[in-house]
């Protein structure tokens, strides 16, 4: 076993020699990784090492940038994601962003159901009500907002808004949820609520999480990837990586020597 491939049976996501370049400048270099179903996997590394780029490559959001080129392969349940339509792919891969970004023109209810509404997917009212309630319960927001479902989502607190955005991603019952520093704009209380939520959500979903916060990765992730200058330096069980890092760069990062 090499130090970059953890033993994973039946991976939900697997990347093979994935490289991504902006204007021929590589931001992600030859990353190969297999991500296990129903786990939280953290992507760590110093600023600019390609974490967001790698995460966005998983639902092909990186293609929005110009002059981007992608080499290598990535599979979701064995299917090459670069052969799928990005629109279909994104319905299997929910995404949560650094700052809460509910749609300001929509109510809480409509925000949760936005994926259906904006895509013009017809659903019965009863079905919609169920999806909204289930998604909001999943993010432990239901009790807080059940009496104000038709108020604007932007009236919620930052932490509630972020949970609303997670609920919006859950409404499609995606297989994987991609999160780019989802708690970096939140206060400690809201952060710990979101963290508790992620641990609970992994029963039904697979979560890939970019984080700058090492203690967060230690608290909630099962597996960790450590990246440096676009390369995957180390990948393994979080516990092992934190107690016994193999690569000296990982150790330096974890002990706070850089980053």
């Amino acid at each position: 076993m090499t130090n970059t491939i953890a033993e994973v049976k039946k991976p939900i996501l697997s990347l093979k020699d994935l490289s991504i370049a902006y204007d021929k400048k590589y931001a992600v270099k030859n990353v190969s990784v297999e991500i296990k179903k129903n786990t939280v996997t953290a992507i760590m590394g110093p600023s600019g090492c390609g974490k967001s780029t790698l995460l966005r490559a998983l639902n092909r959001m990186h293609e929005l940038y110009e002059n981007i080129s992608t080499e290598g392969e990535a599979f979701l349940n064995g299917k090459n994601i670069y052969d799928m339509s990005p629109i279909k792919l994104r319905r299997h891969m929910g995404m949560v962003f650094q700052r809460p970004n509910p749609f300001p023109t929509m109510s809480i209810y409509d925000n949760v159901i936005a994926g259906y509404k904006l895509n013009g997917i017809r659903t019965k009212k009863k079905e919609r009500d169920e999806i909204v309630e289930r998604s909001l319960r999943d993010v432990a927001l239901w009790d807080e907002v059940k009496d104000s479902l038709f108020k604007k989502g932007t009236f919620l607190s930052g932490g509630q808004q972020q949970r609303l955005c997670i609920a919006r991603a859950l409404a499609f019952s995606p297989e994987v949820i991609l999160m780019d520093e989802p708690t970096s704009a939140l206060d400690p209380v809201a952060t710990s609520k979101v963290e508790d939520l992620l641990v609970k959500l992994k029963e039904n979903y697979t979560i890939v999480l970019v984080t700058h916060n090492m203690s967060q990765a230690a608290r909630i992730s099962d597996y960790s990837l450590f990246m440096y200058l676009g390369e995957l330096v180390e990948y393994g069980k979080t516990k092992n990586m934190f107690t016994n890092p193999i690569d000296p760069r990982t150790e330096e990062y974890l002990t706070g020597k850089f980053g």
């Binding site: 279909k88 319905r91 962003f97 970004n101 749609f103 300001p104 904006l118 895509n119 013009g120 991603a169």
Partner: protein
């Protein structure tokens, strides 16, 4: 002791300076707002007697009726319904032409920042904004009056007004969309929403207040336009709803009243009405814009 005096002296001079500046600012502000105050008070004083229900629902009187009324010292009978309906017709038609084209062009510019064609389009649109309205009237005369409606028509008037509105709508659409955070677009795309739906269902609704502000300002700009209408819509003494026929408009009527000594009395009331509508549109668009922030 001496220095204290000098210091005091200084202060009083500074206070004097402050006062002078303050007086200057107040005087200049008064000069700035005085035209609008004078205009509105003149319009109200001269025009209010003529304003009545008849004024809004009757067509313009002929010059003989007006002359008799003036000779007997009565209010001029009739009203400007033909102008009000004509203005409404042409504004609605001009908006129907300019809003879709302008909004789509604005979206195009927003989506293609820095590209050659977009920059060219933006510059041409800016130039269009500076084209004198009489020239737009001439163009519409050549295009529509001579070749489409074969005569003066509401359509020709609307086309010239639409060209006037277009650059304002293009600009405000682009500026509004630029102010919407990128993260909102990403949120929608990450839900697997196709690009055109992201624009129509997320960006446009989010920027709705900005878009409507631009449109309302565009409308208030064209409401009072007279010159291009003289060459295109021409005017009509009765209400006309056929867009291929000559049509009246409030500013056209004001021009006609000005040229008929018997009708002078109607100038002020018509101007008052026009001014009131423009003011209301401006206030409404300010309100909408204010709500956004």
């Amino acid at each position: 002791m001496k220095s204290t005096f000098a210091w005091k002296d200084h202060t009083s001079r500074r206070l004097l300076k402050d006062k002078a500046v303050l007086v200057g600012v107040v005087v200049l502000s008064l000069i700035t707002i005085s035209p609008i105050v004078l205009i509105i008070s003149k319009l109200v004083v001269e025009g209010y007697q003529q304003i009545s229900l008849d004024f809004l629902i009757e067509n313009t009187p002929d010059t003989f009726e007006a002359m008799t009324a003036v000779a007997n010292g009565e209010n001029i009978p009739g009203g400007i319904a033909n102008g009000i309906v004509g203005t409404l017709l042409m504004v609605v038609l001009a908006s129907a032409i300019a809003i879709p084209i302008g909004v789509l062009t604005g979206i195009y510019l927003y989506e293609n920042q820095g590209k050659f064609m977009a920059n060219l389009t933006r510059n041409i649109s800016d130039i269009l904004q500076g084209v004198p309205s009489i020239v737009l009237g001439l163009i519409s005369y050549l295009w529509v009056v001579k070749h489409i409606t074969n005569g003066f028509s509401a359509l020709a008037g609307s086309v010239s007004l639409a060209i006037m509105m277009l650059p304002m709508i293009v600009r405000s659409t682009e500026e509004t969309l630029k102010m919407i955070p990128q993260t909102l677009k990403e949120a929608a795309l990450a839900l697997g929403v196709p690009y055109h739906k992201v624009i129509l269902k997320v960006l446009v609704p989010t920027g709705f207040s900005g878009l409507s502000t631009g449109i309302l300002l565009g409308i208030s700009r064209i409401l009072g336009e007279t010159a291009p209408l003289l060459l295109t819509a021409l005017g009509s003494s009765i209400i006309n709803l056929d867009i291929t026929q000559p049509t009246s408009a409030v500013p056209l009527l004001i021009w006609e009243f000005y040229n008929d000594p018997n009708m002078i009395g109607l100038i002020w009331s018509s101007s008052l009405l026009l001014m009131a509508i423009v003011l209301i549109l401006n206030i409404v668009s300010k309100q909408i814009a204010g709500k956004r922030n």
